[in-house]
């Protein structure tokens, strides 16, 4: 059986890389990919801690996180598409107009 600390080490590494991506990427879709990394790290944590206490609760929560990630993907990418159609860019530092 894999020790819990090793699994948590993996998920904290994924969290750190995802945060780095969110902070430094310019492309909105790449930021979205980094957010998916963070959600994956959270899911691994949920299942690992669930294994310690109550496996079913942890896994059901992870299923909800996956469902919400799918919802977030649909709306987020729709917003990126609408922004691209409007201003011909996906770079967040060029999207600097609230109206226009």
């Amino acid at each position: 059986m894999i020790p819990t600390s090793h699994v948590l080490f993996l998920s904290s590494t994924l969290l750190a890389l995802g945060l780095y991506g969110v902070l430094t990427r310019r492309n909105a879709i790449a930021i979205f990919l980094a957010i998916e990394l963070i959600l994956n790290a959270a899911n691994i944590n949920l299942v690992a801690f669930g294994r310690q206490l109550d496996p079913t609760t942890g896994q059901v929560t992870a299923i909800f996180v996956i469902a919400l990630a799918a919802a977030e993907a649909v709306v987020g990418l729709a917003i990126v598409l609408a922004l691209f159609r409007h201003s011909r860019t996906v770079f967040t530092d060029q999207m600097n107009l609230l109206k226009g």
């Binding site: 894999i2 819990t4 993996l10 310019r26 990919l33 994956n40 691994i44 993907a73 729709a78 770079f91």
Partner: protein
Amino acid sequence: MDAPFLLLSRGAFYVVAALTVLGAWWVVTARSVFRAALALGLVLVGTAFVFIYLDADFLALAQLLLYVGAILVLVVFAIMLTARIGDATIPQANEQRWASAAVIGVLWATLASLVTRQTWPAPAQPPAAPTVLELGRALLTTYLLPFEFISVLFVAILVGALAIATPLKPSSK
């Protein structure tokens, strides 16, 4: 043998974990967003294997079907719809690169030393081999309200995504 498959020995977990971290590194550093999306696929498959090691077989399959099968395809579509020629030569990281690397290095070192120094209690008994029965029962009894709420949310998401992504009519401009 604690893993459900004979091939999944304990040593292979560390190979999977290393591949997952490598894929995550590619996701945040790849210059081409398309390659970053493919690297995300590696991370998602690696996470599915980690779920198998954690005795969550249904979750591993759901991860493959939903993340790799649906979300990743959606992302690739979005990338192809928004890509411009020459995007691969534009710098993909902003000027906060070194500051955020320093801050996140500190955060990662703190988290990693915390989780590895802590002694975690031994895990509870693993659930019965297919977890589907337990999960289905929990979803339809204890978690019925959030389960139904998710389906309402999906309807709202569908309508909202259509409303956002539909091009504006020329007359309304």
